[in-house]
Structure formats: structure tokens, C-alpha cells
Symmetry: C2
Subunit: 216 residues, 2 copies
């Protein structure tokens, strides 16, 4: 991130369109979602965003920096939202978990590439950077699950479930669905990224997971 201007609003940089950094990230996200990949070509990014690809160098150093910035953007949104949910007063653990599952489906519908991008960036990072990603995004998610599931078990609402393993069950089930577009396309001529299918899968997920965790 060395080439990113420190403590300077985007609008202040001479010759750079305001909002250019966000627009690059939005466009990169769109490309990955539309094309079902975790890579982008800088020429396509430039074409779709209408921005000069030199701005990638300017803001992110290189493509790897852009991918990392996109990862940060997407994960920060998730962690902030989960933390707020867990801290919410007046909601019981069951209501919180239902709401969380609803949001997880939304998230993977919006950023179906996120798990694969995370693995890719971790794989291409040195140990320090991998540790930063784990500490900033993955560990907070586990802690949120520990809190949310632990509260529910204590309240007698949930059965005894390992929160760490439960995290993989939930995110795996949802991520897999939206990242299996190729399968659905060739097996059923279906696109998973439709709102109708998202809503059906959401209903299914909430139904089966809640039945799986609720105390009888």
C-alpha cells in the first residue's frame, strides 16, 4: 500500500476523479461476481470503470494491492455488521441467529467470490500479512460465533454446538451455493445469482440450520 496517498481525501488529489478509488473497487467486485472468477484484467477494469488503469498503480501499487483492498472493503462491512448484531440489545439469540443467516445469504449473493478471494490473498501473502487478515476478519467472526452460540446455549435456546465448526457449516453451505453457478448452469440451465433462487436458498438455509441448532 506504499503508493497510496496518506491522510488525503480522494477529491484533493489533482487530476484524479473524485471517488475513483471506490469506483475501481466497485468495478473489480462487479467483474468477479459477473464472471465468477477471483481475478481481473486491468484492461477490463479500465474499460468498465472508465478510469485509466494507471490509477490502480496510484491507489493500490499493483493488482495484488487492489485485490487486498477489495478483500479489506468486503470483510470490514461484514465484521462491522456482525459485531453490531451480536451487541444488539433486546434481541434474543434465536432472533439474532436468524437475522445473521439472512445476512450471510445476502452477503454471498452480493460477493460470491469472497471465500475464494480470501484464500487466494492469504495464499499469496507472507506470514505477517496472512496473520493480519486472520486477526482482522476471521478471528472476529469466530469470536462473534462464540458469543452468539454461547448466549443461545446458556439461554437454553440452542443445543450444545461447537461454534467454530458451526461457522464452517453455515458459511460453507451458503458460499458453495453461490459459487456453484457453473454446476447449476450445466446441470439445470439455471443461474444461481437470481433473486428468486437467492430467496429460496435463504428460506431453505434458515429452515434447516435453525432446526439443526434449536433445542427441542
Amino acid at each position: 500500500m506504499k503508493s497510496q496517498p496518506m491522510a488525503k481525501g480522494e477529491g484533493e488529489v489533482a487530476g484524479v476523479p473524485p471517488g475513483a478509488r471506490d469506483l475501481l473497487l466497485d468495478t473489480a467486485s462487479e467483474i468477479m461476481r459477473d464472471r465468477d472468477v477471483v481475478d481481473i484484467s486491468l484492461s477490463e477494469l479500465s474499460l468498465r470503470s472508465g478510469l485509466n488503469s494507471a490509477l490502480v498503480k496510484y491507489y493500490f501499487g499493483n493488482k495484488a494491492g487492489l485485490l487486498k483492498a477489495l478483500l479489506d472493503r468486503d470483510w470490514q462491512t461484514i465484521v462491522t455488521s456482525v459485531d453490531a448484531l451480536v451487541a444488539k440489545d433486546g434481541w434474543d439469540p434465536e432472533a439474532k441467529l436468524r437475522r445473521h443467516l439472512w445476512k450471510v445469504v445476502d452477503t454471498f449473493y452480493t460477493v460470491p467470490y469472497l471465500n475464494r478471494l480470501t484464500m487466494r490473498v492469504i495464499r499469496e501473502s507472507d506470514d505477517g500479512e496472512a496473520r493480519r487478515i486472520a486477526d482482522s476478519y476471521l478471528s472476529p467472526m469466530y469470536r462473534a460465533y462464540e458469543q452468539l452460540i454461547g448466549d443461545g446455549v446458556k439461554a437454553g435456546a440452542f443445543r450444545e454446538i461447537d461454534p467454530q465448526l458451526f461457522y464452517f457449516t453455515v458459511t460453507g453451505a451458503v458460499d458453495r451455493f453461490f459459487s456453484a453457478r457453473l454446476v447449476l448452469k450445466h446441470c439445470f440451465d439455471q443461474d444461481t445469482l437470481t433473486e428468486e433462487l437467492r430467496d429460496r436458498y435463504r428460506e431453505h438455509t434458515i429452515d434447516i440450520i435453525m432446526a439443526g441448532i434449536l433445542a427441542r
Copy 2:
């Protein structure tokens, strides 16, 4: 597959060690599992198998052919095993599903790369080949789920669950666990590919999925 000798046992080919084709596939599978990737270098394959990498060209045409042959090998095992389970007399749907979940965890423990390899090969195939993979492996899995879940619903053992969506829930949950080794490594200094963790995740998966689907 054009370069593969037709209707000729491996032992009969002059100058080629018996079992060489299987050994190449076994070694490719080991490399992907150990390194958590869905690619192999032919030099590593040669080094680890002790076989000349020219044999890849001989049996599979090229690396893409090798990957496809590995995909075929792994999926044929799965489809044969699932078909046999569904057809088994004297087991009720609940027992069959429990046994199936047990096997799914075993499968992804053994070939944790399978989902990613499937996506990769489909992505790199033309429409005809993608259709063949879907028809040969994915569609039979869906049909098996339809049968297994349908039988359980009819028998009053299972709640009404969409078998197609349920397929994604199950395989996603399991696949994600064993393909998230990097995450566990950096968050918890854990390796997911241990028998201890496999057994814990198996117990968790069977517990939560069965609770999710069984009629009350």
C-alpha cells in the same frame, strides 16, 4: 484422451511400468491434497511418482487430460458408492442418510480438492465436455438425493426439504471445512487434515444435519 491406448491393459505396453497410469493419478491426487491446490507441476509429479513425465503425454495427452482423468476417477468412486447406498435393501432412509454423511466427510478428507477441481475442469472445458461431466457425475448425485430425501419424506422420517438445495448445504458445509486449511492454520495453528479433527467435524455435521432434517 486421443493418445490413450484403447482396450489395452497397462502391463501390455512395452517399456511402461505396470500400474503407471494409476500411480500418476494417485500421485497427482496426493500433491493436490498435500499442497492444497488444484494444479500440479509435471516435474513434481515425475519426482514424487518416480515416473518419466513423458508418460503424462502418453496416457493423458497433456496436463489438462490428467486433471480430467483424476476428476473421472474420483467422481466415479463417489457415484458408484452413493448409488449402491441408495439401492441398499433393509436400511431405512435415516440410516442411509447418516451413512451418506459419514462418507461425504471421508470423501472430502481424502480428496479435499474435488470441488475446486470440478469447477476448474468445467470452466476449462467446452460445452460438450462440461455437459458430459454434469451428466456423468453431478446429475446422478442430484438424482440420488431426490431418491434418498424423497423416500425419507414419504416414510414420514424427514421434513419436506428440497433435495437439490440440501445437496448444496451438505457438500458445501463439508467441502468448506477441508478446503479452509489456510484459515485454520493462520487463525488457530491447526491443520484440518488430521483424523482427530475429521472425526470431530463428522460428528458435528451428522448431528446438525440430521437434527435439521428429521421430522419431530
